[in-house]
Every structure is written in structure tokens, then in C-alpha cells.
Symmetry: D2
Amino acid sequence: MIKVAVVGASGYAGGELLRILLGHKEVEVVAVTSESSAGKHIAALFPNLGRLCNLTLEKMDATTIAEKASFVFLAVPHKEAMEAAAKFVGIGTRVVDLSADLRFRDARVYEDWYETEHSQPGLCYMSVYGLPELYRKEIKQARVVGNPGCYPTGAILALAPLVKEGLVELDSIIIDSKSGVSGAGRTPGAMYHYPEANETITAYKIGKHRHTPEIEQELSNMSGEATIVSFTPHLTPMTRGILTTAYAKMKKYKGPDTLLALYAKFYRKDFFVRILGKGNYPTVSAVRGSNFCDIGLYSDLRTGRVVVTSAIDNLVKGAAGQAVQNFNIMLGFEETEGLKHLGMFP
Amino acid sequence: MIKVAVVGASGYAGGELLRILLGHKEVEVVAVTSESSAGKHIAALFPNLGRLCNLTLEKMDATTIAEKASFVFLAVPHKEAMEAAAKFVGIGTRVVDLSADLRFRDARVYEDWYETEHSQPGLCYMSVYGLPELYRKEIKQARVVGNPGCYPTGAILALAPLVKEGLVELDSIIIDSKSGVSGAGRTPGAMYHYPEANETITAYKIGKHRHTPEIEQELSNMSGEATIVSFTPHLTPMTRGILTTAYAKMKKYKGPDTLLALYAKFYRKDFFVRILGKGNYPTVSAVRGSNFCDIGLYSDLRTGRVVVTSAIDNLVKGAAGQAVQNFNIMLGFEETEGLKHLGMFP
Amino acid sequence: MIKVAVVGASGYAGGELLRILLGHKEVEVVAVTSESSAGKHIAALFPNLGRLCNLTLEKMDATTIAEKASFVFLAVPHKEAMEAAAKFVGIGTRVVDLSADLRFRDARVYEDWYETEHSQPGLCYMSVYGLPELYRKEIKQARVVGNPGCYPTGAILALAPLVKEGLVELDSIIIDSKSGVSGAGRTPGAMYHYPEANETITAYKIGKHRHTPEIEQELSNMSGEATIVSFTPHLTPMTRGILTTAYAKMKKYKGPDTLLALYAKFYRKDFFVRILGKGNYPTVSAVRGSNFCDIGLYSDLRTGRVVVTSAIDNLVKGAAGQAVQNFNIMLGFEETEGLKHLGMFP
Amino acid sequence: MIKVAVVGASGYAGGELLRILLGHKEVEVVAVTSESSAGKHIAALFPNLGRLCNLTLEKMDATTIAEKASFVFLAVPHKEAMEAAAKFVGIGTRVVDLSADLRFRDARVYEDWYETEHSQPGLCYMSVYGLPELYRKEIKQARVVGNPGCYPTGAILALAPLVKEGLVELDSIIIDSKSGVSGAGRTPGAMYHYPEANETITAYKIGKHRHTPEIEQELSNMSGEATIVSFTPHLTPMTRGILTTAYAKMKKYKGPDTLLALYAKFYRKDFFVRILGKGNYPTVSAVRGSNFCDIGLYSDLRTGRVVVTSAIDNLVKGAAGQAVQNFNIMLGFEETEGLKHLGMFP
């Protein structure tokens, strides 16, 4: 049994980590931390965990945590995360960080988009981007993994085969994403007040969302060229889930059968990516609670564009589930351990 | 008082017509028809109308209706609509048709996309496309108006100034729309069963939705060139509303202030189009129940694209409200009569 | 035109007052106040009012307001309300107060349940409880009206005929109410954060909700005996509406036809109360946005109980609509003016 | 590994059985049946099961099924269920039936409320009512179990300690339940059409719901007297879950601490019943997806009533989860096997 700590366990990603880790055969959760809720029983924050988890939240102290746990999941806000990660890595504890702090190879990109200094550019450099479908081999060796953002997970998986195979015009990529409200976190705010978020949908931070450079880093990596995209996130009246609709101009028209075969081959070793049949498109409810990313596509002869849609649960494949998937790979466990039977429909 | 009939009054558009017409100073609704619900009191179908409307549904007979009413709103399924419209126009009764049957100048486009024969190509030709912001003058003279589809209303209003002014590459237009479930009508079906439509969002009919050629007809008209677009509709877990996110490449970059000024000017005479300030984007709840179309935009220097979003209520500006707006114009009433105070927030 | 001010116009009741008053033929809104949002345009708070209302929020100063307006709607928090009401009544401005401050004839009941001192017991005594179906005559003469709470409105209307006619055991009354989240106001909080309020329902403040003594005051008034009830409110995942399910033991069994006839008679002069036919029960969507209260009932031979359910929109008949109804009565306008065509379905 | 068949696997209870059984260590699902969807892959009906379950639906043939499987879950409509159960029991296959057909000891009660003949009164008599918290010992020996209805599960668990200990007036019991829409099954219908079920709540079948006699049978059993209740179900705008609010007059007032201690003791051996602390009340989201029943209560000195609320997931503890719990008991497995880590919040 690996002893594990969840640092920052009072938010949705923290709670989701616990939900998953409690069902993981090889894991014992030995510590959960929260600065604001220290002293509270975990079930006071996550009523679903009553009787299943008998932990009390404590304040974060890296040395104490590192004595108890040999692996740490960081689910604290950005900036805090880089400091904590540096401490744990310094002590020799392996880390998956769910914040944005360790996702960028080049800390300057982070500094531009997050408008704050990055105190650990070296850590940034040594960290692996935790998208197993692209970096499984590197993750295996990693001491620290930067877990991808929720939007980038859905967007990159939707586009990877096209970009990697050089099938589309790189300057034609448009990503239109629709996220459930839990993606905004657990802190109440006017936009997320039930009567204001219910029965409406809105685009926000058009052209400016911080997940943009993360998507561009990975598409650029795959294409070998600087790749710039239009990315528009939308707040959607549902608790969980992201649907991404991605558009790109094909260099040369290919029909749906060809493209679907290409996708199936590209993801043939990836248990958590499901390619849907021709004419079928993903729906968020099919992946709710699960670590799957469903992908469907349409190849449009009229416009020469391919339209790819992907669905994930933002808290699972877009956060905690992917973090455990990375953990499994880092520790040499079955990649699907603890992650298989999480989905719920309807 | 103009005597008016609502033919096809058992669906959502029919009910919405009644909600609006009952508050219209110049209108008396004298007949409501439904083939399936003939004999029922209107409040049995629309419980909100109890005590406000004392009509009983009858079967449609054009001659009888034309004797009672001098104006007809057609809210019956396509195919039925063209036959009924032909009868009423033949008798000399003016008509707004809410179906797709009279939206296309060229009936062959209809036949291609709706995969059925058009029995009234002449009527099609004489009918005016009922988007007042573009065709106010023609509507005034029209004997029959083809009321626009819900998606086209939001999409065309979002793009018209750009296309008319020749500011964007016509082959770069992408329209990503998110509709509430009432857009699918009142007939129950698996996709619209509450547990299946709730807490999820899905793209459907990608590249094949019948509103595509309608959008293209109008954009082509404005640009003077055949204009082909990518259009993707999504089923969104809310009862009403459509949010449209439209993307286009600018021929030459223009900043947001310039573009917003252009939009304000373009729509300066249009009470029901509200252009939001820089950095503000429309939300469906701001137009719920109302005839407004809210528009906001972002001009992206990085990608050279403009992203325009528009919000409408699919049953009001996207159907019944616009129909009454057309009626007001045709009859020479104040364009806003009966339409001003419909919105509800939250 | 009566010049009217809305004091406390930044919350949901304030916004709803504006929505209604803007469509009222006899009213001009001349001032809107908010301490926290003074200086903002009203449309910044209520996006539905854009282009319909050109007012800017100001800080509340009773003298200034009284110079501009001859009637004031108070939609400020309790405690603030009693002070403001006292000022306006002192100046001679007529007032409808939407807070709880002037609902109790006996200020000591208020002090017990609201756990705070009442500084205006005299005002309390002179104020009329603003439920027109019970106090139309008194409202007509009133200088100040205490507008009923949302839960009490639905509960009292559901039970009044039974209690007034002495048909039920007074100690057997149970009221189980389900409210939409807008009932909790516009201030964000953990319980009303979208992901926490969505997809769940919860009872709260069982046996302790402050609307209990208000219901009891009115039932006691009607029965002529101290009447104590069990009242349980529930937070329900919808934006608007309250469904109340009330139970009472009949002294002597009466069948549904008898009871429905009694209800119809009791409310025969009340436009805004609709009694549904046998076997039909109210649904919140039928009254959404409207000032109606729908009532249905079942008389149960097996248990000797009558079960009455009522549906209202908490922001309309449960707040702003009823306030305007009271205003209409006080000013001698048609009681339904501005209130007829507000409902929206679906 | 026990070989198991799910007969009637196309509805929500069937899908939920599969979700749970796929994570059960001791189970292999060998057959899934559906008359209407025979020939389809299971993932065509339950998109969450894609890649997790490779079964194809077949038509039900008892002999074929009994050859493959040694245990059968019946999730077919009532009437069909009794016939199928009789066949399987005849062959010697053990059965949990999720329909209402085997819940009543006395088939005549069934015949009265379900208005149809019961062809298997003997089977009815030998069947055990599958509420483990009351009948664990009998379930262990049972060849056939009638799995409780969703409403009765929540209602009986809420009231059992009070009734068993004789603390309340039996003729004072009122049960007000609020159910998510999945409780109505998977067949589309007007009431469950998204725009009609969304944003509203409605009482239905007041005094006449078929779960009434089931609740009464069990309360009568426990009290030793014929116990008649008022039961009102409500359709609530959420996919899953039932919140039950139960009211009863105490024979002698007992404070909340006493009652909560009594409940804790009563359910001390029941993993799936969680008694909340004083002042805390259950919420559906805390049990969503899980087999828990959360219970909280308020003891009201003013009225002498106790108000108990319980929350369950109607598809889990109210159907499939409880069925697997019964299966575990019948087969001698750990009662919690496959059922521990199912909950999801938010």
C-alpha cells in the first residue's frame, strides 16, 4: 500500500481525488490538508464520504506530510502549488500537481498569461506534462507531473491525431468549449450563484483564457511549429463536464471513415479514450464521473473542415482522475486501477 | 382591433404567440387551431393562460378561419405550412409562417435540405424573409412572410455587419450555437427525456442541420457572393435560449472599439438589437422571454479573428416574438407593440 | 402618472418590481436606490432591463426620494426597512414594505422569531398585512402595507377557506413547502453555489423558519384561535417558484367536489387565485413569472385528511407582483393593472 | 465468480445494476435481456458502459438464461416480472425482483392498488421483502426477494425506529416525498419532456400512489397494528434522488438527542444508513450514485411532532444498489461488496 497525501483537499478536485483514491486497491490516504478548514472532519466538506473516510483536515506542513506519505497530490491554488511542489520534490516525495504551475515547459509563458512571477522555473522545466496519451513514457520516469487543465485535456485529445499527422492547417484551429460550473471551483461568486448560472449559457474570457497557451504548447509540440488557436470557453448550466467542439481546415479532404480509423489507431493503446462510430457524437452524460474522454467527428466536404467533439468530466479526466492515472503510471500500477467503474448514467 | 388566428396553437411557438398577442393592444385572437387537440380549452395545453384566454382549439379550415380573422400566424409543421399558406394567400389573408417553408427564395434549396418536394415555389418567391433588421421595408409590403428559423436569427444578426461591410473572409465563417431544449419542440422523445437531456450538452447534426442553407442564403445575399459556413448546433440543458458563438477571419485587423461602433451604427434603428459594451458578452438569461437579441464581440489580434456572440430567446426573437414584430410592421403598428416588457430575469 | 420609487433595487425583488412597473400604465419610476451599487446603471444589475429602463441607482435619502416620488416600494433588508418606512410614513409618502418588518400586528412576535428589537411597534400596528385576498378593504385605506412573505402567501391561500370555514382540526396542520433558489436572495453563498444547489433538494430550518409565525398569525386570525403549525421549507433546484403541500385533518369528511366548490366560492372575486379542477394539481411552471396562485386539492377518505397544494412565483405573487397588486388597490387602480400578462411557459 | 443475468436491462434500473455489478469482485454478468432492444450492444443504451461491458442484449428465455446464470435480477415491468420470477424459481434459480410484483405478502393488496390480477400469490407469500435493515436474516434464506420500491425505501427507513419503538401516534403519519425524474423510468412522456419537467415541481397521484400500501404493510408489520398513512409524491427537477419528509405526532415528547441516539442504536449494524448530527438534514447530492440512506430529524416541542427527513438515490438504494445488497446477503458475500464507492459529489 502506497501512503498518499492530498494537499488542498477542500475543493472539488480534492474531494474527487478522495472519492477515487478510497476505491484504489494500492493506496492508503494518510493525510488531507486545508488551510481554511483545518480541524474539520472530511465528511463535513464532502457529505458523500461520510462513513467511508475517517480523516481530519490538517494544515499543510511539508515535512510532516513527507514523513507520513510517499506520494503527494497537490490540489492547492496556483502560486501556492509551485512552492509546495518545490518543497516536496526537494525532500524526494513524488508529486502530481493539479494547478497550472508546472504545466509549462517555459516559465515565461506562464508569467505572461498568469501575470505573476514563477519562482520555480527549474521545476517547471523538469516537470512532465501529465497527459498520459501523449507522454506515458515520460510520466513513468517523472518525479513531478504537471496535471493538465480541464479544457486542454479535452481540446488536445480532440486534435492530437490531426495535428500530429499534419492533416490540418495549423492557423485554422478554433476550439469552442462548454464547461459545467464545477470547473469554476467551490468558492461562491455572483456568476455561479444558482439563479444566475441556471438556465443560461455565456462565453467568457474570449481570447484570453489561461488555458490557451497550454493548448498551444502541446499542439506546437506535436506539429513542430508555433501553433496559435482561437479558444472560447462557455459556462454551461450543468454541474460537471466539458464538451469541446474543435474546427480545423483539412489540408486535403479526408472522409470520416479515414479519419475515424486514424483516431482509432492513434489511441489504440489508450483505455480512456473512446472513439465513437460515424454519425455519433459525444455527450457529457456518457462520461460523467468517469475518466473517459469520448471523441466523435464529422468531416465536411462542403467546407473542407473537420469538426471534432470531445467530452470529459472536468473533475475526473480533467483533474483528479487524470492525476490518479498519472500516479498509476509513475508507480507502475495498472493504469486503470481505481479508475474503471466511476461513471454514472443518467 | 385586428382579428387574428393562430393556426397550430398546441406547440411551444403557438403558445408563445398567444402569450404575446394577449398583451397586444391592437389584437383580438379569434381562433386557435390544432388537429390533435381540437376541442380542448387552450388552458389545458398552456396552464399559464388559464383565466387569461378563453379560446377552444378547433380543427383548421382555411375558409372558416379566413372569415373570422384578417391575419393568420401559421405555426404548423413544414409541408403543412406551405399548403395552408397558399390557401390563405389565395383568399387574401395576410400570413406570417413560422415554419421553414417560405424562408427560401429558391425552392430548390429547400428541396435539397429538407429532402421533400416544395409544392409552392411561387409562394416561396413572393414571400419575404422576416428578419426586420434586414428587410423592414420589404416586410411592410409583404402579403406573406417566412419567419426566420431560431438559429439563423441569432447567427445572421451576429454576422450581418461584418459581412455587409466586407470585413471578413467569407470562407472563414464558423458558427457554433447552443440551444435550449424547447427548440426541439413539444413532442417527447428519447433525446429530450428529462434524465437524458439534463446535465449534459451534445453537438448534433454537425454539418447537416437544415438551418445552414438559411444562414447561407442571407449571408450570400449580403456579401453578394456564395457564402458557405460551418454550422454546429448543440443541445443545451436549459428550457429556452440560443447562444451563438461566431468566428471569422478579418481581412484586415480592426480593434474592438471600431467594430463595436460599426455594430452600433448598423443596428441604430433596431430597438430589439442591443450591442453590449467592450468586454461584455451576452447571456441567455438576459433575453429570456424577450424579443431582444444581445450581441457582444471580441477582436483577437493574436489570431486575426473576430468572435461575435449573440443571445436570443428561441421562442421569442427566434419564433413568436419575431412573428409579432413582422405582423406589427406589416400592419403599420408600432414595431415594439406587445413586445416590450416580456423579459424575465432571473 | 404616479411617481414611484423602488428603495433597494439591486436584489431580485427590486428587479422584479422594475420589470412589472415598467409595464404599468399609470406608473413612472423616478428613483431606484441601492447602498452597495449606487452610481451604477440599472441594466448593469438587471441585464433584461437594458434599453427599457434608463435609471441610475442612487443612495437612499428619504427626503430626496419623497420629493420625487409619491409612493415607495421598500425592498431593503429587514431592520433597515422599519427605519425607512417610519421616515416615509412620517413624511406622508405611502409605502409597501416587502421585508418582514411590518407583517406582524404584534411586534413582540417579530422580536421573538427575528431575534432583534423592533424599533417601530406603532408602525407595525398601523400597517396592514398585504394579502389582498384577505384584506382588500383594509389595504385600500392603508398608508403602509406589510407585504407578505413568499412562503406565507402560498400557505395561507392554500388553507384559508378550510380554516375560515372551520372545517379542519387546527392542531393538525402541516405545511411542506418547496422553494426555488431565488427565494434565498441574490447574495452568493455556499448553499446556493450552482454545483451545490443543483441536482439536490434539502429541508432546512425545520420548525424554526421565520415565516412560521406569519402563517400562524393569519390562520389564527381566521380561525379565531391560536393556531400552531408544522412548517418545513425545502430548497429546490429551480430558479423561481414555491410549491406548498398542506395537510389537515377534516373535522368531518367532505368530498373533493364539495371542497373545490367551497374554494371556488371563497376566491370568486380574486382574479389571481385559480382553482384547478378535480384531479389536477398545480405546477410551478404554470405560474412562473405571473401573479397567479394556483390551487388544487385532494380529499382523502382513507385518512380523513385534505391535501391542498398551491403554486406561486416567489418573486411575483410572493413578492413584487403582490406588492404592485397592493399598490393598485391602495391607489384605486384596476387591481390587475400591470400584472396580467407576466407568465411564461415553458 | 457467480454468474448473473440481468433480465430487463434497457431501463435505468437495469443500467444501474450493470454499473454496480461490473465493479463487483464476485460477479460475472453473463446475460442481459431486453425485448425491445434485443440485438443491440449494451453500450448503445448505456453510453457510460462503452469499453467496460461487452454484452449484447438478447430476448428473454428463462431456460436459456437459467443454463448460463445461477442468479437473476429481474428489472422488467410488473406483471411480466411475476411470470418470469415463477419460471426462474421453478427452475431453482435465485431471484431478486425489482418490480412491485413480489413486495406484498398478501397478493390481494397488490390486486387492489395495481388494479390487475396477481397470477402468483404463492410466490408472493414465499418472497421476502428486500429491505436488509429490517429483514437481513430472512433475506439470507430467501430464494426470491421482492426488492422495495424507491419511495418506500426512504420512507420506511425514516420512520422505522419511531414506529417499532411505539413512540408516535400511528394515525398521524404524513410522508411528503420529492423524487427526481429518473424515478419515472426511461420511456419519454409529456410530463418528463425536458422543457416541461425542468424548473417546476408538482405533486401527483396524491393519496393514490401505489407505493402507499407497501409503506403501510411495513409500518403495520412493525407496529403490530393496521397503519394508514398520507403519502404525497412530487416530481422534482433533478435526475436522481428522493428526499422524504415524514411527520408524526409523538405520544410523549422526546428531544432530538434522545431520538438521534435511538436512531443510531436502531441502525448500528447498518452500514448504509447514516444518521446525521443534530441540526443537520440530508441532501440528495450527498447520496447521489451511492447506496446510502441519510437520515436527519427535528423534534418540535411547539407542535409535539417529530420531522424526519431521509435522502436516497432512487436508482441505487431505491433500486439497483439495494438489489445487489440483497444479492450479497443471499449469497453470503460481504454486504457492502461492490457498493462502497459509488457516490459522487457534487
